[in-house]
């Protein structure tokens, strides 16, 4: 039987595909030396149109292609999340690629493919589908990580990411095959039905551990974090930004869909594993970040730390926990991407990512220094910024589930993280500048920077509607109390 296809459910993915194909055709038709970055401009415009289209899909729900593709509130929330992340990544790429003499357009195509992969991950309703979506995302990231061929670090990062990523994919596939062996299906609906009627057994546990290894690789949780610092430092900065926000969120949407939805009935078994992992991850990330001299590497360790905070929501194992993860990720998007915008703009004029070179940025460019300050302080969790409220909801969920010790460890980690974030702030504001030349910022980049600031401050002050969106997203598919 040919499956019934509900085209309206997959319309966003189709739109992305059509845009991608259109851009490829345009790339062939346009003369090679137009002097203007048409692909970047059109990409950005198409992205804004897509966000408008996405907002009309709010109440869309259902499944199509024989259960392969699910559209629900969680998928809707995260698709918006990925589109929003791209709104920041595309301008970053435009700035960054100015120094690249060739193959600029291909970079945009790969970004589009990564976006497609992330949207499909959010909508997967079958393990096979999930695997292929993850591969679309990850393989395009491998290529983009190694994109600066003449840069030794970029190549090394690409190679490391490829090898460890291939290992993680192998784990995922092996885990899926164990689940298939027990449940005789790869569909989420069937496996969920099996989980509801059967107790956990060693085979399933083995499969789950392997699947979690692959998710842990994506979200950068201990003990699957080893690639993070090197890859974050070596990759082109827009790719680092995408890795730290998009790829991590893709990992968490799988985590929420699998462990809060499909395997919800086995929740007592798995939530006891997440709590120590969360504690280890945040301690490792925050302690590792203390003595870093490269800002991208610092953000690599900080990203491991934040994965630890986010895993607290998973350890809580409640609807509140899942909503807290969603909300925290939303705040993390604005905060981290604001920081990476500054890093890109600084790199374009100064060709350096060393924290020492940031000395006296406040006198050279008050706007850049201000945005970085806001981002760092929000990451550390200072009220009234969004980072504070995100941590607050996560801690609330943790305490409500009776994991007081985990909340205490998180509180200690917040203090540790303040130390290394504030060291960067000291460089920006107290140390004298080494060079006095101001850093030029185009008005369009100014606009993007202000948008990020609006997100950090705005969501911090008016949390209501955003928290509600995060709640709705979690409630749509969560089968936990």
């Amino acid at each position: 039987m040919f499956p019934i296809i509900h085209w309206n459910l997959i319309s966003l993915e189709l739109l992305i595909t059509v845009t991608l194909v259109g851009l490829i055709v345009l790339d062939i038709l346009l003369p090679p030396e137009t002097g203007k970055d048409w692909t970047g401009l059109i990409s950005f415009t198409a992205l804004l149109i897509m966000i408008g289209f996405w907002s009309t899909q709010r109440n869309l729900s259902g499944e199509t292609m024989g259960g392969m593709f699910i559209m629900d509130s969680l998928a809707w929330f995260f698709k918006g999340f990925f589109l929003l992340a791209m709104v920041f990544v595309f301008p970053m790429t435009r700035q960054f690629l100015k120094s690249l003499p060739k193959w600029r357009n291909e970079f945009y195509f790969l970004l589009w493919l990564a976006l497609l992969g992330m949207c499909l991950v959010a909508s997967s309703g079958d393990f096979l589908m999930l695997f292929i979506s993850i591969e679309i995302l990850t393989i395009s990231l491998y290529v983009m990580t190694a994109y600066l061929k003449s840069d030794h670090h970029s190549l090394e990062a690409g190679m490391k990411y490829l090898i460890l990523g291939a290992l993680a994919s192998g784990f995922l596939l092996y885990g899926i095959s164990f689940l298939y062996g027990v449940t005789h299906s790869t569909g989420f609906a069937v496996i969920q039905g099996y989980a509801a009627t059967h107790a956990m057994n060693p085979t399933i546990l083995f499969g789950l551990v392997l699947i979690f290894a692959a998710i842990g690789f994506k979200i950068a949780s201990v003990p699957f974090h080893l690639w993070v610092p090197d890859v974050y430092q070596g990759a082109p900065t827009p790719v680092t930004a995408l890795l730290s926000v998009g790829s991590k969120a893709a990992g968490f949407v799988i985590l929420i869909r699998l462990f809060f939805g499909v395997f919800a009935s086995w929740h007592p078994q798995w939530s006891s594993v997440f709590a120590p992992l969360a504690a280890l991850t945040m301690c490792y990330g925050n302690l590792g970040a203390l003595f870093q001299t490269n800002i991208k590497r610092l953000f690599g360790y900080s990203s491991i730390g934040h994965a630890g905070y986010l895993l607290m929501g998973a350890a809580a194992g409640s609807i509140l926990g899942a909503s807290a993860i969603n909300f925290y990720l939303l705040g993390y998007l604005f905060t981290n991407l604001a920081a990476f915008l500054v890093i890109v703009l600084f790199f374009v004029t100064n060709k350096s990512d060393e924290i020492n070179d940031y000395a006296g940025l406040a006198t050279r460019s008050p706007l850049l220094a201000g945005v970085l300050l806001l981002a760092l302080v929000s990451l550390a969790g200072v009220p009234p910024l969004v980072g504070f409220f995100g941590k607050f909801t996560l801690l609330m969920a943790t305490v409500q589930s009776g994991l007081l010790w985990l909340a205490l460890i998180a509180a200690v980690n917040v203090i540790i993280s303040l130390y290394y974030y504030l060291i960067v702030v000291k460089r920006l504001y107290v140390d004298p500048p080494r060079v006095n030349s101001p850093i030029p910022i185009s008005s369009s980049m100014r606009f993007i920077l202000w948008m990020a600031v609006a997100g950090i401050v705005g969501i911090g002050i008016i949390q209501g509607p955003f928290l509600e969106a995060a709640m709705t997203a979690a409630k749509g598919m969560c089968f936990l109390p």
Binding site: M65, I136, H152, P202, F206, G234, F291
Partner: protein
């Protein structure tokens, strides 16, 4: 008769897999892998999954193996470099993780033994059945694999074709990234 062939191929499979891991000469590793894949595809054919068996033989023993042989040839590994590669600082940790993995794995296999057998399927793994399933139930994942091919095309074009910067691939100083931790 079928069970005789099953045990025959399964035994060769295990022995050849051991040879893949244990043989010192890389060439023997690769050749044992060919034997492994041959036995594996025989097992698939015994299960009446003819198409999968043949594809496995064609793709892995045919194409992928050649790549392995090329890599072994190009690397020109001799005993000294091999020994240097096999020195590991984390031997104890590796063993520990291996033992953990193995014990967990044996538990997993044990519960398979007691599990009820899967109902015998009437599907025969011919091209026709595989094709039908691929274009109905698994239509979306199948179509999506085309994006994987697209990505690899971009990857090859951007990474392998032409030098990016000034033209010459100047040998940069090779300091690993994490050197200054």
């Amino acid at each position: 008769m079928i069970s005789f062939f099953f045990y025959l191929f399964a035994t060769i499979l295990i022995l050849a897999s051991l040879a893949v891991v244990l043989a010192r000469n890389p060439l023997y590793n690769v050749l044992s892998l060919v034997v492994v894949i041959f036995c594996l595809s025989s097992l698939f054919i015994l299960l009446e999954a003819f198409f999968v068996g043949v594809i496995l033989l064609l793709v892995y023993a045919g194409a992928v193996m050649i790549f392995f042989l090329f890599v072994v040839m190009c690397l020109n590994l001799n005993g000294q470099t091999l020994n240097a590669l096999q020195q590991s600082r984390f031997r104890l940790l590796e063993c520990l993780i291996g033992v953990l993995f193995l014990s967990e794995f044996s538990f997993a296999i044990k519960s398979f033994l007691t599990a009820p057998a899967m109902p015998a399927s009437s599907i025969r793994g011919t091209i026709e059945t595989v094709g039908k399933i691929l274009f109905t139930d698994y239509l979306l994942p199948f179509e999506l694999t085309s994006f994987l091919l697209l990505i690899t095309i971009f990857g090859i074009v951007a990474l392998a074709k032409g030098a990016l910067s000034t033209g010459v691939d100047d040998p940069v100083e090779t300091k690993p990234i994490g050197g200054s931790q």
